[in-house]
C-alpha cells in the first residue's frame, strides 16, 4: 500500500530541510563577506554541520525491528527511494572524478556516462520488480529461494562480499581525502571522522536510517554540484542551463586542439617529452643499479652545495621524494614514462570516437560491463526491496535514473568548460597564470612547467589531475569560498551515502545470510538486529583500517567490482527470473565459472600483461559474463529440471498479485 499522508509528510520535512540548507549558505556567505570568516571555519561548519544533520536523522530513525532494520519497513515511496538510490549509487568517483575523466579522455570517457546510467534500464525491466515481489532482504535470500539450498546462497554471499568490500574501502578512502582537503586534517584523522559520519546513521537505524539520510545527502550533493557550473555557464554564455550551453565550449576546444596539432612550439615540447620517456625507459631497464646511482648523485650534489645555497632546499625536496626502493622506483618511473609518452603525441580530437578497432572494442566492452555490473551490484539492488509495491519498484528505477541524470547530464558541461579553461592557459606567459592555477599547483592537482624555457605555456606543458575539474570550478567561476566549501561537503555526502549503503549490505550478508540463515536459525528478531549492528561496527572498522594504507590499487579495484558483479550475480539473477528451466546446478556452475574466469583474466592482464583481443583489465568481465550465461544454460539443460516447488516460486514472483500464492514476505 502507498501511504499518501506519509509521502506528504516526507515532502514537507525535506522541503524545510532544503530551505534550511540554502539559508545556511546565505548566512555563511554574509559571514564570509562581512565578518571575514576564515575558510577553515567555514570548512568546519560544513563538515560538522552536515554530519550533525545526518546523525540527527540516524537518531530519529533508530530501530530494533527486523523489517525496518533490513528494508526500511518497505514503505519508502518511489520518489524518495529514487533519491536514496541516486545517493547510494553516486560515490565520490561520480561526484569528483567523472567530469575530470571526461575532460581528459574526451569521447572515451563517455563509456562511464552511458555505462553508469544504462544499467538502470536493466534493473527496472529485468530485475527490480521481481525481487520486490519476492520480498526478502538480500540477494543471497533470492538465490536460496530460487535455486534451493545453501550452496547458491553461499556463492551469493561470497560474490557480495568480494564486490562490496573493495567498494567500501574506496569510499572511506574518498572520505579521508575530502576531509583532509576541506580542513587540512591529516588523512588518517579524516578517515576516522568519516567513519564516525558513516556509523552514526547506519548503526542506530539500519536501512531505515540509511534511507532517510541518503535522501538528505542527495539534496546536499546535487545542489553543490549544480551551483558552480551554472554560474560559470552564465558567465560564458548568459545562459545558466549549463547542460544546454556547453556546445560552444566543445567547438572552441576542437578548434584550439586542431591549431595546436602542428604548432612548432608544441612540437618542441613533445620532443622533450619523447626524450624523457626514452630516458626513463633506459633507467627502468637498468634497475636496480640506476636507482642506486640516482640516489648517490643527489646525495653528492647536496653535499657539494654550500650550506647557504638557495637551491639547497630544492635538492633536499628531490631527495625526500626519491623512490624509497627499486620496486617503488619501477612503479613511479613506469607511471612517469607513460605520462611522458602520452604527452609526446599530438592531442586527439575531444569529441571523436576511438579511431582504431581495438579502442572501439574496449569502449563497448567497458560500457557493457559497467551497465551489467550496475544491475548486479548488491547495494543498489537492495534499495528496490524497500519500495511498498511492485509497481513502485518499476517507477522507482525511473526516479533513480532521473535523479542520477541531474548530475550525469551536467558532468559533460563541467568537463567541456574545464578543458576550455585549460586550453585558455595555452599561449599565456608563465607570469600571468590565474590564481586558481597557483592554488591547486600547491597540492599537485595541476602542474604547469616551462619545459622548453620560452616563458610561454604550451599545451603539452600542462598536467591536470582529474579531481581538479570539479574542485576548481568555483574559483574559475569567481565564486566565494563558501561555494568551494559546499562542493567539498557535496563530495563528502556522495562518499558517505555510498559507504552507508555498502556497509549495510556487507553486514547483512554476514549477519542475515551467513549467520542467521546458515549457522543459527533459532535467533530471536531482536538478537538478529543486535548481531547486525555489532557486525556493522566491525566491518566499518575493518574498512577504515584497510583504507588507512591508502593503497593505489583501490581505485582500480572499484572498477573491477563492476566486472565481477556483471560476471557473477547479474546472470544468476536474470536467468532465475526469466528462465524457468534454470536450475541449481546451472546457476552455481555459471557463477563459479564467471567469477573464476574474470579473476584469472584480471590477474593475467593487470600483472602479467597478457591481453586477449586487447581487452584492458577494467573490462575483464567481458569473457566471464557470457561464459556464465553459456555454462549455466548448458548445464541446466543437461541436468534435471528444477522441482515443482521452485517452478511455482518463479510464477509467484512473475505476477504482481493474485496469480499464484504470495512470495516469502516476512
Amino acid at each position: 500500500m502507498v501511504d499518501r499522508s506519509f509521502a506528504d509528510r516526507l515532502k514537507k520535512v525535506y522541503s524545510i530541510y532544503t530551505g534550511g540548507l540554502i539559508l545556511l549558505l546565505i548566512l555563511l556567505y554574509i559571514g564570509e563577506k562581512a565578518l571575514g570568516l576564515s575558510p577553515t571555519f567555514i570548512g568546519y561548519v560544513f563538515l560538522f554541520g552536515t554530519i550533525a544533520v545526518y546523525a540527527a536523522i540516524g537518531v530519529i530513525s533508530r530501530t530494533g525491528q527486523v523489517a525496518e532494520y533490513y528494508v526500511a519497513g518497505r514503505r519508502v515511496p518511489a520518489v524518495f527511494n529514487g533519491m536514496a538510490t541516486a545517493a547510494d549509487w553516486m560515490s565520490a568517483a561520480s561526484f569528483i572524478g567523472m567530469a575530470g575523466a571526461l575532460a581528459l579522455q574526451g569521447y572515451n570517457g563517455l563509456a562511464f556516462i552511458m555505462g553508469w546510467t544504462g544499467g538502470y534500464v536493466l534493473l527496472g525491466v529485468l530485475i527490480a520488480p521481481y525481487l520486490r515481489k519476492f520480498g526478502a532482504y538480500t540477494i543471497p535470500d533470492f538465490l536460496d529461494a530460487r535455486y534451493g539450498g545453501k550452496l547458491p546462497r553461499f556463492v551469493g554471499i561470497v560474490a557480495t562480499l568480494i564486490v562490496s568490500f573493495t567498494y567500501l574501502v574506496a569510499q572511506i578512502t574518498g572520505v579521508g581525502i575530502i576531509a583532509s582537503r576541506l580542513l587540512g586534517l591529516p588523512y588518517e584523522v579524516g578517515v576516522f571522522v568519516g567513519l564516525a559520519g558513516i556509523l552514526v546513521c547506519s548503526f542506530l537505524g539500519g536501512m531505515k536510517a540509511v534511507t532517510w539520510t541518503q535522501v538528505a545527502q542527495y539534496i546536499v550533493l546535487i545542489i553543490a554540484y549544480l551551483i558552480p557550473v551554472t554560474v560559470l555557464s552564465y558567465k560564458y554564455t548568459s545562459n545558466p542551463v549549463s547542460q544546454l550551453s556547453y556546445g560552444f565550449a566543445l567547438q572552441g576546444v576542437e578548434q584550439r586542439l586542431a591549431q595546436l596539432k602542428d604548432d612548432p612550439k608544441e612540437k618542441e615540447v613533445r620532443e622533450i617529452h619523447k626524450k624523457r620517456a626514452e630516458d626513463l625507459k633506459a633507467k627502468i631497464a637498468a634497475l636496480p643499479q640506476s636507482w642506486e646511482q640516482g640516489k648517490k648523485e643527489l646525495e653528492e650534489k647536496l653535499k657539494a652545495m654550500p650550506a647557504d645555497d638557495p637551491k639547497r632546499a630544492e635538492v633536499e625536496k628531490q631527495l625526500k621524494e626519491y623512490p624509497k626502493s627499486p620496486e617503488e622506483a619501477k612503479t613511479k618511473w613506469t607511471e612517469a614514462m607513460k605520462r611522458a609518452q602520452d604527452a609526446s603525441k599530438p592531442p586527439r580530437s575531444y569529441t571523436a570516437p576511438p579511431a582504431d578497432a581495438k579502442g572501439m572494442v574496449n569502449f563497448l566492452a567497458l560500457m557493457l560491463m559497467l551497465m551489467l555490473g550496475t544491475a548486479g551490484l548488491p547495494h543498489v539492488i537492495m534499495r528496490f526491496y524497500t519500495t511498498p509495491t511492485v509497481r513502485e519498484a518499476r517507477t522507482s528505477a525511473g526516479w533513480a535514473l532521473f535523479f542520477i541524470m541531474l548530475l550525469y547530464l551536467t558532468a559533460p558541461a563541467y568537463a567541456a568548460f574545464g578543458r576550455y579553461e585549460m586550453l585558455n592557459l595555452v599561449g599565456k606567459a608563465f607570469s600571468e597564470m590565474p590564481d586558481w592555477v597557483q592554488k591547486w599547483a600547491k597540492v599537485n592537482l595541476i602542474t604547469v612547467k616551462d619545459l622548453n624555457g620560452d616563458g610561454i605555456v604550451q599545451f603539452a606543458e600542462i598536467f591536470i589531475h582529474p579531481d581538479m575539474v570539479v574542485l576548481a570550478t568555483p574559483e574559475i567561476a569567481g565564486l566565494p569560498y563558501v561555494i568551494a566549501g559546499f562542493v567539498a561537503a557535496g563530495g563528502l555526502a556522495a562518499a558517505l551515502s555510498t559507504a552507508d549503503g555498502l556497509l549495510i549490505t556487507i553486514s547483512n550478508a554476514i549477519s542475515h545470510d551467513l549467520y542467521y540463515k546458515m549457522i543459527n536459525p533459532n535467533l530471536s528478531p531482536s538478537t538478529r538486529v543486535k548481531i547486525g549492528k555489532a557486525l556493522l561496527l566491525i566491518v566499518a572498522l575493518l574498512g577504515a583500517y584497510v583504507a588507512k594504507f591508502k593503497l593505489a590499487i583501490i581505485v582500480e579495484l572499484v572498477a573491477w567490482a563492476f566486472s565481477l558483479a556483471a560476471a557473477s550475480l547479474f546472470p544468476a539473477l536474470v536467468l532465475g527470473i526469466w528462465d524457468k528451466r534454470m536450475n541449481k546446478q546451472g546457476a552455481i556452475a555459471g557463477m563459479v565459472v564467471g567469477l573464476v574466469v574474470t579473476i584469472i583474466y584480471l590477474y593475467l592482464s593487470r600483472f602479467k600483461g597478457i591481453e586477449l583481443f586487447g581487452i584492458k583489465p577494467i573490462a575483464s568481465g567481458i569473457f566471464g559474463m557470457p561464459l556464465n550465461f553459456i555454462v549455466a544454460i548448458l548445464i541446466s539443460r543437461l541436468t534435471p529440471a528444477p522441482p515443482e516447488k521452485l517452478q511455482t516460486f518463479v510464477d509467484s514472483i512473475r505476477y504482481p498479485k493474485g496469480a499464484v500464492k504470495a512470495g516469502a514476505e516476512e
Binding site: 563517455l110 529485468l126 509497481r391 504482481p656 499464484v660
Partner: protein
C-alpha cells in the same frame, strides 16, 4: 487464480515489451557509439551528434524507456487483473 493461458499471455506480453525496450536501449548506446564518427558530422547548437548521444542523448532515452515500460506494464497488469490495489 488465473488460468494457465492467461498466465502465459501475461508473461508473453511482458517479454515482448522487455525485448523492445532492450533493443532500443542497445541501439541508442552501442549502435550510436559504433556510428558516432559519422554522427559527429551533424552539429546542432555546437554539439556534434555522435558525442551528444553518448553524453546526454542516450541517457534521456534510457529514462523514457523506463517510464514507457512502467506505464505499459501498469496497463498489462490491469488487463490481466494482477495489479496491486
Amino acid at each position: 487464480m488465473l488460468s494457465k493461458e492467461q498466465l502465459e499471455g501475461y508473461w508473453r506480453e511482458n517479454r515482448n515489451l522487455m525485448l523492445l525496450v532492450l533493443l532500443i536501449w542497445a541501439l541508442v548506446s552501442y549502435g550510436a557509439a559504433l556510428i558516432s564518427g559519422f554522427l559527429n558530422k551533424i552539429v546542432i547548437f555546437g554539439f556534434p551528434l555522435g558525442y551528444y548521444m553518448g553524453a546526454q542523448g542516450a541517457l534521456i532515452v534510457f529514462l523514457l524507456l523506463i517510464i514507457f515500460y512502467a506505464k505499459s506494464m501498469d496497463k498489462v497488469d490491469r488487463k490481466y487483473g494482477v495489479e496491486e490495489e
